[in-house]
């Protein structure tokens, strides 16, 4: 398959002004300001093929949004190479963005006071969408996302989930082949999330659209993508399938203990390092246990443990969690 996106050694550093404390520091800053360097993206490389769906995850401030911005041509890298759809995004902006769609989950592009259709019409003119294509897409998307009932309402009266669906349609009306979704499910209820996931899968399957999205919700990743990239502190720490990550951690178990006093505690550990016997013995010695269950950790627990440094991805092993 043909390569859609190629990123090699991309780097983006920001300069952030330091603010001191106290009145004298405040006066001093009027004349002499100190800065520190923040490494938003620090030497990241990956490549994505046409027709893939890739999920980006990572804690807040990990560099996901900066990466998306570099890919969509809003920022250029300080060093390294970013290429997408055969273009250098920030250099050939107008050419490149004709064929991409971008949704910023936290920043709507819809007119707040008017029905969705007015914002869609504007997109038609901005992207020079031929009438038949516009009408066909609009009809199809509205049906898939179940939007007919609220098309005529002012956007400010819509629920967050309805608004987000509107934003997604607005960004895809021109049939882009490459789509970036920055947190498209943030703050949504389960039903709205499911609708959006279904739609993303449809766009990928039926239209072979390449889709890259960021999220905090592991369900999004499990249900939608075939590939996962984890970014933390500006570095890529994992790139592969979800199955693989789960496989690596089949040896990790979580023991959940219900105490007699009503308390509940959990412990996560790697069976190859710590024997189940030892853990249970310790628990029984220290606690009065009412009930006990052993389970495999959910994918979000694994991810959380990775962020918090309790699990390391390079070595397939894990330290025991704190009980």
């Amino acid at each position: 398959m043909e390569t859609m996106i190629a990123v090699e050694g991309a780097r983006k550093y920001y300069r952030v002004a330091k603010r001191g404390k106290g009145l004298t520091a405040a006066v001093g800053q009027l004349f002499n300001r100190k800065y520190e360097i923040k490494k938003a993206v620090d030497d990241i490389s990956f490549s994505i093929k046409r027709g893939e769906i890739v999920g980006f995850i990572g804690p807040n401030g990990a560099g996901k949004s900066t990466t998306i911005k570099m890919l969509s041509g809003i920022l250029y890298p300080d060093a390294g190479r970013v290429e997408a759809d055969g273009f250098i995004p920030y250099k050939q902006r107008k050419q490149y963005v004709k064929n991409i769609g971008v949704v910023f989950g936290q920043k709507s592009q819809l007119n707040w006071d008017l029905p969705l259709i007015e914002s869609f019409e504007l997109m038609k003119f901005i992207y020079r969408i031929p009438r038949e294509q516009y009408e066909k897409n609009l009809r199809q998307f509205c049906e898939l996302l179940d939007m007919e009932s609220f098309l005529g309402q002012p956007v400010r009266q819509l629920s967050l989930g309805q608004r987000m669906r509107g934003d997604i349609v607005a960004a895809l009306l021109h049939s882009p082949e490459l789509v970036f979704l920055d947190e498209p499910t943030i703050g949504l209820d389960v039903v709205a999330k499911e609708k959006i996931r279904e739609f993303i899968r449809y766009m990928n399957k039926e239209r072979n659209t390449t889709i890259i999205f960021t999220t905090h919700d592991m369900q999004d990743i499990e249900k939608v993508c075939n590939r996962l990239i984890i970014i933390d502190k500006g570095k890529k720490i994992y790139d592969g399938s979800i199955e693989e990550i789960k496989d690596r951690y089949t040896n990790v178990k979580t023991i959940e203990v219900l105490l007699e006093n009503g308390g509940k505690e959990t412990e996560t550990f790697d069976v190859r390092r710590t024997s189940v016997n030892a853990v249970l013995e310790r628990i029984f010695a220290e606690r009065r246990v009412k009930d006990i269950s052993v389970c495999e950790p959910e994918i979000d627990e694994i991810i959380r443990d990775i962020y918090e440094g309790r699990l390391r991805l390079d070595a397939p092993s894990a330290e025991g969690g704190a009980l």
Binding site: R19, L23, A26, V27, Q29, L30, R33
Partner: protein, 262 residues
Amino acid sequence: MRAYLEIAVRKFQDKMAYRLDFFMGIVNTAITIVVYLCIYRALYAGASEVDGITYRMVATNFVITLGLSNAFGYNEMFLQDKVHDGSITNEFLKPVSFTLRLLAENVGEGAFKLIFHFLPALLFTLLHTRLCPPKSALHLLAMLGSVALGYLILWLLSFIIQTWSFWLFSVWGIITIKNVLVSILAGTLLPMWFMPAALRRVIACTPFESIYFTPVRIYLGELDGAQLLSGVAVQTAWIAVLGLAAWIFWRRGVKKLVVQGG
């Protein structure tokens, strides 16, 4: 009291974080003074005095008035924004009074502008223009007291209108109109002395004369002895009236909010 002082000081520091605003604020004030002095000079067209008022008195009036109106400029949509986004209810949970906190913040911001925008601009003005000195040290002192009262009158006027945001969709229009009235009727642009006699009689019955003009007249010695005391008494009376109105509106607004839940 300490808490409110702390709030005022913090606001003062916040303002200092914006370096460019700081230097431009000085330039802005200095240019405005130069321009208006040019306008008054052109209006005087060489005359040494008009109706017994000298050019230098007019210049002095303008500089003092500008300093005070600068110190008063802050975000008057604050309360409305808090009501609209609902964060006003969080304010009631804090251990400090919301109204006093607002006043403290505004005073902090005003003090910043007076010290860092107005004072340097004033020094610059004194390099090229001679202003009237205060009649005496005592008058200067009395004027400072009167300035504080004038500030309170302005603040209460603004606060009363801000409380209307509990009932109205937007108070922006009313605040704008209030500011127009202040800029004309309090003598910010055209000194009170040159207002048509009929208009001045009307203004005398409103709080507008007490805002800038009373302090200016005390400074110049136009109000002296018993007149000075009555000027300050009128200011105090307006504060009592406006303060009462502000209290009533505030209480009713809060009650409406609590009953209807925003």
